[in-house]
């Protein structure tokens, strides 16, 4: 697939909402080029500030787009200095962003059933994926959302615009089904519905490793979006390798999360987990 080269944009902050008490934010940015030319699973790399620290950009999945209004959203949580600064973004601030970047999800024409599974902030690219699947097919979609606690389920509200089935799980049992999201997922897959679904997932590495095993166990296609520390986001620093099995060449090698991914076929990636 030939990708257009990444471009740099000065994007205007339209809103910066705190979604939950656990410092999860949804930021809406005006940028018609990114809104109109990105596909689900791709990401953007945000220049958080003009200071020397934090030095590097911060990568975020594109969470949702509105092509007509020319905006996109990113979903994130305060974890360090960069995201602490982002929490201070105000409406009309101008932020430099490179994107869209990477290879996103592959939606086959004629897809009949899709199961989207998000672990924690791994939910981030899934609303856009929902949009994409609904635009390109008439597939039946189910979303499995797994978070630590009730407050994080604010992220599940991002799917409210879609007429789809949402299964919510919390690790502490404070809302929805108690336990890991993989439990109801396995029950669903074991129930042998007539159409084999494609499993799309995003989340922490240990969760993705489990999703790779589940795809293999139930012999269904899986696509996973992996996360990595990145230096640049567009292939020049070569700092974000992921080990893959090249079946054609019969060898293990490295691909780059930023330009070869972040979405990979679940049979290909060798996760440490």
């Amino acid at each position: 697939m030939i990708c257009s080269p990444p471009k740099s944009h000065d994007c205007i902050v339209l809103s910066n909402k705190r979604l939950s008490e656990n410092s999860i934010y949804l930021t809406r940015l005006h940028c018609p080029d990114i809104a109109q030319n990105s596909s689900s699973g791709q990401f953007v790399n945000i220049k958080v500030s003009n200071e020397l620290s934090p030095l590097l950009r911060r990568p975020f999945s594109i969470c949702k787009v509105d092509k007509a209004e020319g905006w996109f959203e990113v979903l994130w949580q305060i974890v360090g200095r960069g995201t602490t600064l982002m929490a201070g973004y105000k409406v009309d601030d101008v932020i430099n962003i490179i994107g869209p970047l990477g290879h996103g999800f592959h939606i086959k024409s004629g897809i009949e059933s899709a199961i989207l599974v998000g672990g924690g902030l791994g939910i981030a690219p899934l609303p856009f994926l929902c949009q994409d699947i609904l635009e390109k097919s008439s597939a039946n979609i189910a979303v499995y959302v797994g978070v630590r606690t009730k407050a994080d389920l604010a992220m599940a509200e991002l799917f409210n615009d879609f007429d789809i089935n949402i299964i919510q799980c919390t690790e502490d049992g404070s809302a929805g089904i108690q336990g890991y999201v993989t439990k109801p997922l396995i029950e669903k897959l074991a129930s042998k519905s007539s159409v084999p679904p494609v499993l799309f997932s995003c989340g922490p590495e240990v969760f993705l490793k489990r999703m790779v095993d589940i795809s293999s166990e139930f012999d269904v296609e899986g696509q996973i979006s992996v996360e990595s520390v990145m230096g640049c986001g567009f292939g020049i620093c070569v700092g974000c390798p992921v080990e893959v099995q090249d079946y054609a060449e019969g060898e293990r090698k490295y691909k780059l999360t930023c330009i070869d991914g972040p979405v990979f076929d679940s049979r290909e990636v060798l996760l440490v987990g």
Partner: protein, 303 residues
């Protein structure tokens, strides 16, 4: 318009702002993010004889105003470089400097033999200073005898300008610069990264897989300037300054200290148009200060 052109031996640069090896890929990745032809030159990702997959992750770790990297010379190898990367670079109107690396002196020799017939390559930068590979790398610029021998061996097989890229991980970098000169190098470039390390206190593991890694970014600029100063004061050889250059003011510090050209490195990860902006800024700076040629600034340090 001020004259920003620079000559390093036979190497003619239209301006003194280059991008550093390993921080700009093979040029094409950034084609929509900057005007590549605005640069004085592009130093390619290191080219080795065979494709190298590089080190296992994690390869990078961010620090305040700096970063650690341990990529391990991941690159496509010289044959693929020639067939797939060089055609794009050949179309540019900027100097293409191939950064050459190897585990043995013979490997450098074989890479240059393969590259030498390609006119689009203006010069070679000899990577004598990668801290992140087990063999070769640093060894070629920590012992002056080895530096001189390897430089001489390569000098004998090519007419193209040779720039020896030196490590700061040594007591007297000027001794190595002298050895490179004695071996026939046209210039030296410095500094490559400083050997650094960081530890995750939760897991008690190093933050980068190879434990130690190369430290770069604005935090290393004072070290880089001091090393450039040492070489300029002690060795009669053109110096290309590298190390934490983020903006025009940083570049000017290197010029004033005596570097005849600079390379922008880590800054490219954040903004690949840093070099292009620097060229524009340098032109404005010269015009605004009645400077006709960049050579008027180089080495103008008042002591």
């Amino acid at each position: 318009m001020a004259d920003l052109s620079v000559s390093i031996g036979k190497l003619k640069l239209k301006n003194p702002v280059l991008v550093a090896s390993g921080t700009f890929g093979y040029g094409q990745e950034s084609r929509a993010l900057t005007d590549l032809n605005a640069l004085g030159g592009i130093v390619t990702k290191s080219v080795t004889l065979k494709r190298r997959d590089g080190n296992p992750p994690p390869r990078i770790f961010e620090l305040p105003a700096g970063m650690l990297n341990s990529i391990g010379l991941a690159n496509v190898g010289v044959d693929t470089f020639i067939s797939e990367k060089l055609p794009f670079l050949s179309e540019l109107s900027t100097a293409i400097i191939a950064n050459v690396a190897g585990s043995t002196p013979e490997e450098y020799l074989q890479v240059i033999e393969k590259l030498d017939e390609h006119d689009s390559i203006s010069a070679y930068e000899l990577n004598f200073s990668c801290p992140n590979v087990k063999q070769g790398g640093l060894a070629f610029s920590q012992d002056p005898k080895v530096t001189q021998q390897v430089t001489r061996m390569l000098r004998d097989i090519t007419e193209k300008p040779l720039i020896a890229k030196l490590t700061p991980n040594i007591t007297r970098v000027s001794e190595i610069a002298q050895a490179a000169k004695d071996g026939g190098a046209d210039a030296v470039s410095l500094i490559n990264t400083l050997v650094g390390m960081a530890v995750n206190t939760q897991t008690r593991k190093p933050q980068v897989h190879t434990v130690t890694a190369g430290y770069s970014g604005p935090a290393v600029k004072p070290v880089a300037l001091a090393k450039v100063f040492e070489v300029v004061q002690n060795v009669d050889i053109p110096v290309v300054g590298i190390g934490g250059i983020m903006n025009l003011n940083d570049a000017l510090e290197f010029f004033i200290t005596g570097a005849c050209a600079v390379q922008v490195g880590t800054a490219n990860f954040i903004d690949p148009s840093t070099g292009e902006k620097m060229v524009g800024g340098l032109n404005d700076y010269c015009n605004g200060n009645g400077i006709d040629a960049i050579s008027e600034i180089v080495g103008s340090l008042k002591l």
